[in-house]
């Protein structure tokens, strides 16, 4: 990623129900239409009205890996926002607030207050949302953007509500825009323009679109934050894509209904968060036993139990590793960002189809509920689709003689045939000539149970080994992790999943501070390229593992798989995501040998 010439962060704070989202959407739309990149993080709470929301939109002329460290412009929709965040603004920062109602404390040095007489500018309109429109006008002015750009955006957003609403909002925004130019200095850096307009998506959109691109024809879910966005995308787009979408009574039902659809022959997917995933686990084992490929997405939130529903954490790693009773294979992959999540889903489907087993995609609130720009040309909705050894055509032969048990329909077809690579050709339901039974009980090659009577240790061993072998036969299709940054570094930062972006930016900041850091992001949890990781880390001077949990779940996993013990750890488990400076501070303290486990203290109270 290139260095930014323009890098600006805007935060909008208020209570749920005050309309934080609308100004966020309007401003984001203005930025991406200009070809600017955005990376937005919404800190919110599990409440429909009230509480405190802080939406941070970082905008730049280059791709952004994370939401960054700073807030340049704070839009305060209520006193609470001003009270919470005014003191964390840095030099050059500004705070917009309604001077009719709000009272700021003494701002930090270098911070400019932008008091706006909202009543005067809105003709004392009793509609409280007019304050938000005025503040968008103020923001547009402060950022040095022409009013026409905002006018167009307002027209588009409010066009369904009619010309009167458009005129009211445009008039208010213009009054605030002019007032700002007359009374305040604008930010010194002009807002540039990019090459072409960018698309916008959330991580949940990307996961759903990855499913659509992979050919998912059946999607089921039970709503659960922060995974619900996948269901919403599917429901909104299903009819155009011939995808069947069903909301089911609970996650147990979800996990099993997708198995039914997948066994019938459709590509089937579902998404949930950790609690729902816990309910799904028995079914995941049954998919492994019946050898049915299904993709399960877990969007992690802070646990345990109901935990903190609107906050992020990487706390479910061991739940994924141990999901369901028994000893069996499942793919587990943790994409690094939204685009990676989008591209990973078709890859996981191809692997699951090849190995006829379940796969787990591990996202988290940070990826799933973040809003990101993406160049449209990078979205490939037609990736390679490979369904493995799937039988989809009937066979009409002498086998179809019926009545005679030896040659009756399905005679000769062994669903669980013990092959060299362990993969048994899988017939979809309803084909003439391939009648068979699949079972969650242990079974023989022909599907007959060997669990309740006539258990046979040799057959059991054969089936266990067959299932393991087919998994091993496809893992070489997966790319091993690669070291990013200079080969020779003072410190190697190892992260997994969604920490990629923040570590990426922290490495740059460390370099600016004279510390050479490189980065080993691990995406594939199972299979884990243990030997390759050990080799890379063996060349490192010092290894620090960065993760969003308290106990060091990945550090323990890596040690259990390889014996590798890291020199230090940076962990965060307060519900809020890492910011780059947290990692920089952690590295600096560890290089000074002050600590082995650095836990940053989050500065923004949300």
């Amino acid at each position: 990623m290139k260095d930014a010439k323009f890098d600006f962060a805007l935060a909008i704070g208020g209570a749920a129900g005050q309309g934080v989202a609308t100004p966020g959407n309007i401003l984001a739309r203005m930025f991406v239409r200009r070809g600017l990149h955005i990376h937005a993080y919404n800190a919110y709470q599990s409440i429909i009205r009230g509480g405190h929301i802080l939406l941070t939109i970082r905008v730049a002329d280059v791709e952004l890996p994370c939401h960054g460290d700073k807030i340049d412009l704070l839009m305060c929709l209520n006193q609470d926002t001003l009270d919470r965040h005014l003191q964390i603004l840095g030099p050059g920062g500004r705070a917009i607030y309604n001077s009719d109602k709000l009272e700021p404390s003494e701002p930090p040095e270098g911070v400019t207050l932008v008091p706006i007489p909202v009543g005067e500018l809105t003709d004392n309109n009793p509609n409280k949302l007019m304050q938000n429109t005025a503040f968008i006008g103020v923001t547009t002015a402060l950022m040095g953007i022409d009013f026409e750009v905002l006018g167009e955006a307002l027209t588009e957003v409010f066009k369904r509500k009619g010309q009167d609403v458009i005129d009211l909002n445009t008039g208010t925004a213009k009054a605030a825009f002019d007032y700002t130019h007359a009374n305040f200095e604008i930010f010194p850096d002009p807002v540039p323009s990019g090459d072409e307009p960018l698309a916008v998506w959330s991580g949940n959109d990307a996961l759903a679109m990855g499913g659509a691109a992979a050919g998912v024809k059946f999607y089921a879910a039970y709503p659960m934050s922060p995974a619900t966005g996948v269901l919403h995308w599917m429901a909104n787009n299903a009819r155009d894509l011939d995808i069947m979408v069903r909301q089911i009574e609970d996650e147990i039902g979800v996990a099993n209904i997708v198995i039914g659809a997948a066994h019938a022959g459709a590509r089937a997917m579902c998404a949930t968060s950790g609690g729902g995933f816990a309910l799904m686990t028995e079914a995941i084992g049954s998919a492994a036993m019946m050898e049915i490929p299904v993709v399960y997405i877990n969007v992690m939130r802070a646990g345990p139990s109901t935990g903190v529903p609107t906050k992020t954490e990487q706390g479910d790693l061991w739940q994924m590793l141990g999901a369901s009773q028994g000893d069996f294979q499942r793919f587990i992959v943790a994409p690094k960002n939204a685009l990676d999540a989008f591209n990973t889903i078709p890859e996981v489907f191809n692997l699951c189809d090849a190995a006829q087993c379940p796969g787990i995609v591990l996202s988290d609130l940070l990826i799933s509920e973040g809003t990101f720009s993406v160049p449209a040309k990078e979205i490939n909705m037609q990736p390679e689709i490979n369904r493995g050894e799937l039988i989809t055509e009937p066979r009409v032969s002498n086998d179809d003689g019926l009545a005679d048990p030896a040659t009756r329909e399905g005679g000769g077809y062994k669903r669980y045939k013990d092959t060299e690579n362990g993969v048994s050709p899988r017939a979809i339901l309803g084909l003439e000539g391939y009648v068979h039974v699949v079972s969650t009980d242990e079974h023989d090659e022909d599907g007959v149970l060997i669990s309740d009577e006539f258990t046979n240790p040799h057959k059991r061993q054969m089936m266990v080994e067959k299932r393991a072998r087919k998994f091993e036969s496809v893992v070489d299709r997966i790319a091993p992790p690669e070291l990013e940054g200079p080969a020779d570094a003072d410190v190697t930062l190892l992260g997994w999943g969604s920490t990629w972006g923040v570590i990426h930016e922290a490495c740059k900041q460390l370099s600016n501070a004279g510390i050479i850091a490189n980065h080993l992001p691990v995406k594939w949890i199972v299979p884990l390229y243990g030997d390759e990781i050990e080799e890379i880390l063996g060349r490192s001077k010092r290894v620090i593992i960065v993760e969003n949990n308290q106990s060091g779940q990945f550090a323990r996993y890596l040690r259990s798989e390889t014996g590798f013990k890291a020199n230090g750890h940076i962990r965060k488990y307060d519900g809020e995501p890492f910011m780059p400076h947290h990692i920089v501070a952690g590295v600096q303290e560890q290089l000074a040998n002050e600590t082995e486990i650095y836990v940053p203290r989050h500065e923004i109270m949300v």
Partner: protein, 299 residues
Amino acid sequence: MSETKIAESIIETTSKDFKGKVDPDWCPGCGDFSVLKSLQVVVSSLGLRPHEVVTISGIGCSSNFPGYFNAYGMHTLHGRSLAVATGVKMANHEMTVLVTGGDGDGYGIGGNHFTHISRRNVDLTYLVMNNQIYGLTTGQISPTSEIGMKTKSTPFGNVEKPLNPITQAIMNGATFVARGYSGDQKHLQMLMKEAIQHHGFSLIDIFSPCVTFNHDNDYAFFRPRVRKLEDEGHNPEDWKSACEKALMWGDEIYIGKFLHVQRPTLDAQEPVLEEGGPIAHREIAISNEQSETIIKRMM
């Protein structure tokens, strides 16, 4: 199952064609034998062929059913047969889906799915071999065990009121609700035939005595008590009368067709299935046009 499908079938099947690879491991005298035999007779009489049918079960004595029945089969997790079966039916609505299991599997651990499949009116037939006991775990109370029943888990007698699957299914929106008795195969076959031909969710709760662990509700208990609704002139569109009769227990216990009404099935209301056949058989790649539509929405 559609009417045309029956007409198209050329090869005639007999009940033997639906005999599974292995023989049942049920105890001698178990009511489930009659259910298995009856279903084999009915399915062949409907002109169905093994590959057109899928039997789906959970866990329990009766849930071993798919292994004894020659058709596509799924022996799923305890309590989850109805969820899996809903996925199967929606992904391939051309299949005849038959779900088999017991009272513990369906009304106990699987109770939530039983509730919701009824209101969804998924077009499949659910055959519950109700023996009012947990048999495979060697005899504990089930959700349909009577008050006072002594089992290994209730040595001093059961205090919990049994649920009534018939009224429950009716209240939750099932469109075909019947009760059979494995001691009367001819009657049971009549119910099965109608249930399979019905478009919508069909429940047949079948008294299928456990001769090993339930000595209260055996053949000697049911034989003098069962009364057929068909002999009483019951109107199966009258849900109130159906519920009154379903709640009767004691000297007179009704079997037969309690409710039979028409309501759109889940697959018939699914817009994706309006054309193009089962989703399981379709091309899955996204078209250029679809891709453009989706990306345009993101701009």
